[in-house]
């Protein structure tokens, strides 16, 4: 994508969610988690799936980061940067609403 190189920053109280027409499914035949979107399909690795699953529109970005840092015992700053990069990338492709 053509997004600028500046590090993505997402407001702590943003409530990311999948827009209508985008959904995450688990499919054995395709070998795991897949993100389905208008005429596009993306394979989601385990980490991406863990992040996207939490984007329900209810949990805030800060809460999602807390939850992931807690669940995987990883440093919060690192988790925040990784999650922000992933979510911004999805938003750029219109696969996520922030």
């Amino acid at each position: 994508m053509s997004s600028p190189a500046a590090p993505p920053s997402i407001l702590p109280d943003a409530r990311p969610r999948l827009p209508r027409g985008v959904r995450l499914v688990h499919n054995e035949a395709q070998g795991g988690w897949m993100l389905l979107a208008p005429e596009r399909v993306f394979k989601a690795d385990q980490i991406a799936a863990e992040i996207v699953r939490r984007c329900t529109g209810e949990a805030s970005f800060a809460a999602i980061v807390d939850d992931l840092a807690d669940t995987f015992g990883a440093p919060r700053e690192r988790v925040e940067a990784d999650v922000a990069a992933l979510l911004q990338g999805l938003a750029d492709k219109k696969l996520l609403e922030l």
Partner: protein, 374 residues
């Protein structure tokens, strides 16, 4: 996405499927070849299936269940004009019940607001509307249908009002290629979150109309050059996907992601194809869902195994470092332009037949369109 292409057996071999085989991701369901429009680049074959031969809704329901069991995630309900089927809502409901992500690919003519609502209630996920130009008169002339432009805009408004995601598909050729900016602006105005700028692919009807559709090299370069600036300009508002103009490319496209690799196509009468143009290649026998399960066809139909992987490829593809990227290009195009479906796609500048493409691209005639008619 995984992208490994595995070499395997040829047509007429022992019928054993290569292992392991990819599961298809997408199914193009051509519900009917009937359509009110007559676009001169229609992707339907020249020999179309008649209404009497169309699969009924119960047969489609079985196909969708078998597709889901095979790993298919998305179904594209297309045609012809899918709304030409009176039982479209039943067919949509069956696709949704099978757990598939559903995409309605429509001309926009024949889908009333009421029917759209019924389709949404049945579970429709996404709509793609084709539109021929941003100039109404030109759009109607290309479609061969007076008033088509206005009806497409009206359906797009209804889709937007229901907050359904919308893709606008625009096929690009000589009559509209100078308006890429206007076409993207129109898609935004229609409420689309995604637009396909799809340069004509020359098969079937488009091949028949090639000289009337062919743009000049300068026009193609200008049009392709607009895509990145437009992506920057509309970043975050609309996704712009571009299908490259084949005849002016240096390398061929990995057609449908590789033959029998990621997708399959079911014709109105139930024949299963690796792509919508596959029947243009003689000597391949395509099986029908009336006689076989989708899994049997995917794994065992010799026509599906004919060009899987890269082992069938002659030089210059066989030793090419791009052979696992584009699989030597498109089999239908190789056949259409060289008479040999195994040959390198002559779009490739390395093909010994590339001069055929260069010669054809140089022929532009302002001839009247031969409209697609059933």
């Amino acid at each position: 996405m995984t992208t490994d292409g595995r070499p395997n057996g040829h047509a007429g071999g022992n019928g054993q499927p290569p292992k392991p085989l990819h599961s298809p991701l997408g199914l193009l369901a051509e519900l009917t070849h009937r359509c009110p429009l007559g676009c001169p680049y229609c992707s339907n074959p020249l020999e179309m299936d008649k209404r009497e031969s169309e699969l009924d809704a119960a047969a489609w329901a079985r196909v969708f269940r078998e597709a889901a069991a095979l790993g298919v995630l998305q179904v594209h309900l297309s045609g012809g004009e899918p709304a030409s089927r009176r039982d479209l809502v039943d067919i949509m409901a069956a696709a949704c019940d099978a757990g598939l992500y559903t995409n309605l690919i429509t001309s926009g003519v024949g889908v009333t607001e009421e029917r759209l609502r019924e389709l949404v209630d049945a579970g429709l996920d996404h709509v793609q509307i084709s539109i021929q130009d941003s100039e109404p008169k030109s759009a109607d002339l290309i479609a061969g249908y007076a008033g088509a432009y206005a009806r497409k805009r009206a359906l797009a408004a209804a889709v937007a009002a229901l907050k359904l995601p919308l893709t606008v598909n625009i096929v690009i050729h000589r009559a509209n290629i100078t308006r890429i900016d206007e076409l993207v602006a129109m898609a935004l105005d229609m409420g689309a979150s995604r637009v396909e700028i799809a340069h004509v692919q020359y098969y079937g009807w488009a091949l028949k109309n090639r000289a009337a559709l062919m743009p000049t090299r300068q026009q193609v370069e200008d049009a392709v050059g607009r895509i990145e600036p437009l992506r920057k300009q509309h970043h975050g508002r609309i996704v712009i996907d571009a299908v490259v103009p084949d005849y002016y490319a240096r390398f061929p496209k990995p057609c449908v992601g590789g033959w029998g690799r990621r997708s399959l196509n079911v014709t109105p009468a139930g024949r299963v194809l690796p792509c919508h143009a596959a029947e243009s290649i003689p000597g391949l026998e395509f099986w029908s869902v009336k006689d076989h399960s989708l899994r049997e066809i995917w794994e065992r139909n010799p026509a599906f195994n004919a060009f899987r992987g890269t082992a069938f490829l002659p030089e210059p593809c066989r030793s090419c470092e791009r052979r696992e990227i584009d699989f030597g290009g498109c089999r239908c195009q190789a056949f259409a332009l060289t008479g040999d479906a195994r040959a390198a796609d002559p779009v490739c500048h390395l093909s010994p037949h590339h001069h055929v493409v260069e010669r054809q691209a140089a022929i532009q005639e302002d001839a009247a369109y031969v409209y697609r008619r059933l």
